[in-house]
């Protein structure tokens, strides 16, 4: 069978599986739709959270980004995993004890204020929409690269599948499809990673191969060889950073606190039966995520080494097969500047080879000479990663509209059945808008996805943490803090990225912190504003202080519900 046919078969089979699960797990009530009925096993929830969390960017782009950034790429590895510690220790168990449906639910009740609830909804929608547009685009790209359909058709097929299980099944459908998607994506990631590790080092475990000697008899370890090769070509050494320490610190922190403040991740912990399950579930989620996140930097180093070895100073005639295969997609390219017929790769202006970071994962199976079915598997994995994240995001958008905006704020008289209908309609509309973003990506989308974290860190994270750990923070403080963090971070990013991009360098940055890391400063301002304003205004009412005492202790937890 040709690779093309196998790819259709694998992607088709995985879609049939997701739709089958969606039909089997239809949502019958708002409880099913918002929190999957509240009875999800912690291991299952951990797996679903992992698929929810690992997006097209984690699957396709992360290893490539690291392989070009070297040690500076650690910001993503640390930032996108360390947040789970905060989530498990500071947020998830208490939100589970609180036992409602959404993140704005918590903020609205804890700060006894519809304004606070609506501010939270605005933060949530802004963060989630920028993120989901990137996912739909990812689905389209995977389709167009592997199945040779155009991006628009790819996005529409992806929308149709997400529509099926997100609108029908709500959180319940999403949870069980995400479990299937996790299995597909981790298998698709690990198989090529193991083979390329064997090829480069002879060690089948990428995490160990990463520190081993290269199997070429040179006696050098992978990283020593990579450092040497990088320096020879004019790049900085792979294991040394070029970003300033303060910027690395700030970006890592913004990603960590942002991770802990992302609504589509937080809401997953509303679905488990008990407070103790919420803690364990976060542990399982991170363990499942860590499998990919500790493999990615190994793949990054192997792929980079292999790339330089096979491409640099090779005559174009003898270029490996994968190079010409991928040339047509524009992800790799060669321009013979000195007309010698040989490809020269370097950091300087005489560089002749153009390499897109995504190639590091996408072309891996071919680089390692793996059979067609592995290539088909990677395609199915990429689609699974993008769809699972898109579905999780669409769900929090639709529930914040049907539950927080309509039921709790604008139309409190609607029945549960009507609310469920509104939830489904909101999900349907959100799918279509996300699809449009995927087909006609606004120029800013690609740039803002990374900033969703900074905004979440500066707005939602402090409001939730303070709501649990301080009884003194009142609604005035929380609202002032959220607005302060959101506006400061948003303005800083817009200023350097869009208004004055020519000034976007360390000389002009505040304290040398780039727009990617400014969420940390926004978060500190949020905390400062919340404490100061609360100090000079009346403390929260007695019943809110009692609520805080109640969520702090695990006993007496009931399943998520209306009160």
């Amino acid at each position: 069978m040709s690779t093309q046919l196998l790819t259709y078969l694998f992607v088709g089979l995985s879609f049939a599986l997701y739709i089958g699960i969606a039909i089997w797990s239809r949502a019958g009530s708002t409880r099913d739709f918002y929190v999957a009925g509240g009875g999800v096993n912690p291991v299952v929830n951990g797996m679903a959270t992992a698929a929810d969390w690992m997006s097209a960017a984690s699957f396709i782009s992360m290893a490539g980004i690291i392989s070009f950034m070297g040690r500076d790429g650690s910001v993503y590895l640390l930032g996108w995993t360390g947040g789970y510690v905060l989530l498990a220790l500071l947020l998830a168990p208490y939100l589970r004890k609180f036992g409602r449906f959404t993140v704005p639910d918590f903020i609205g009740e804890r700060y006894y204020s519809k304004v606070a609830r609506v501010v939270a909804v605005v933060c949530l929608i802004f963060v989630s929409f920028t993120y989901v547009a990137g996912q739909m685009r990812g689905v389209g790209i995977v389709f167009s690269r592997f199945l040779e359909v155009d991006v628009t058709t790819g996005v529409i097929i992806g929308m149709a599948v997400v529509f099926m299980y997100a609108v029908l099944g709500g959180m319940k459908g999403i949870t069980y499809t995400q479990v299937a998607q996790y299995c597909v994506l981790i298998f698709a990631y690990m198989v090529p990673a193991i083979f390329i590790s064997i090829m480069i080092t002879g060690n089948p475990i990428p995490q160990l191969g990463f520190g081993s000697e290269v199997a070429d008899g040179s006696g050098l370890s992978v990283l020593e060889k990579l450092d040497g090769v990088s320096k020879d070509l004019g790049f900085s050494a792979y294991t040394e950073g070029s970003k300033s320490t303060i910027d690395v610190f700030a970006i890592t922190a913004a990603l960590m606190f942002g991770t802990a403040g992302l609504p589509h991740v937080l809401v997953r912990f509303f679905t488990v039966p008990k407070v103790s399950d919420a803690r364990k579930s976060a542990g399982y989620a991170l363990a499942f995520i860590a499998i990919l996140y500790t493999t990615a930097p190994a793949v990054a180093s192997f792929a980079r080494l292999n790339l330089v070895d096979t491409v640099h100073n090779t005559s174009y005639e003898q270029a490996p097969q994968w190079f010409s295969n991928w040339e047509s997609t524009g992800l790799v390219g060669w321009e013979d500047k000195n007309n010698d017929g040989v490809m020269q790769y370097s950091a300087g202006t005489d560089n002749e080879v153009k390499i897109d970071r995504d190639i590091m994962v996408l072309a891996n199976p071919e680089i390692a000479n793996l059979p067609g079915w592995v290539i088909a598997l990677v395609a199915a994995g990429g689609v699974a990663a993008a769809l699972s994240t898109a579905a999780g995001l669409l769900l929090v958008i639709s529930s914040s509209i049907s539950h927080d905006l309509l039921k709790q704020t604008l139309m409190p008289k609607i029945t549960e059945k009507q609310e469920l209908l509104f939830a489904r309609m909101a999900a349907a509309v959100a799918v279509c808008i996300a699809g449009l973003f995927g087909i006609y990506p606004p120029a800013f989308v690609a740039q803002v996805v990374a900033f969703a974290f900074g905004l979440a860190a500066a707005s939602l994270f402090p409001a939730i943490v303070l709501g649990i750990f301080s009884k003194r923070i009142n609604k005035e403080g929380a609202i002032a803090g959220m607005l302060m963090g959101l506006i400061f971070t948003f303005t800083y990013i817009v200023y350097f990225k869009f208004a004055a991009p020519e000034l976007n360098n360390a000389d002009y940055w505040l304290l040398g912190i780039s727009p990617e890391g400014i969420g940390l400063v926004g978060m500190l301002l949020n905390f400062a504003a919340a404490f100061t304003v609360s100090r000079f205004t009346a403390p929260p009412p007695k019943q809110v202080q009692d609520l805080v005492e109640d969520i702090r202790i695990p006993s007496g937890a009931s399943a998520a519900s209306y009160h």
Binding site: L208, S276, R279, T294, P297, P554
Partner: protein, 92 residues
């Protein structure tokens, strides 16, 4: 419930919360030390040591910290359940 019992459970809840905060502080110090400490602030100094073929600082930044994160969450889930039972605020 009698007043005395009520007071006792309120006191228990308070003590439980204090014990929880102490545990959180310990674990978050480790969290900070392995990621921001070893992986970022001390990374250049640690790189002089070699660890299973890696420079130590680099290993923390791209591998070690992640393993510690996973362990921290499970340690918390385990320790806090013991503390819960000790103060009688466990959910089961």
């Amino acid at each position: 419930m009698t007043d005395k019992k009520n007071n006792m459970s309120a006191q228990n809840a308070k003590d439980y919360w204090q014990a929880n905060l102490r545990l959180l502080a310990k674990l978050l110090i480790i969290w900070f030390a392995v990621s921001f400490g070893c992986g970022i602030l001390l990374v250049d100094w640690l790189d002089q040591f070699s660890f299973f073929g890696f420079k130590l600082g680099f290993w923390f930044a791209q591998q070690g910290a992640i393993y510690v994160f996973v362990a921290l969450i499970f340690v918390y889930a385990w320790r806090i359940q013991i503390i819960e039972r000790q103060y009688g605020v466990s959910e089961d």
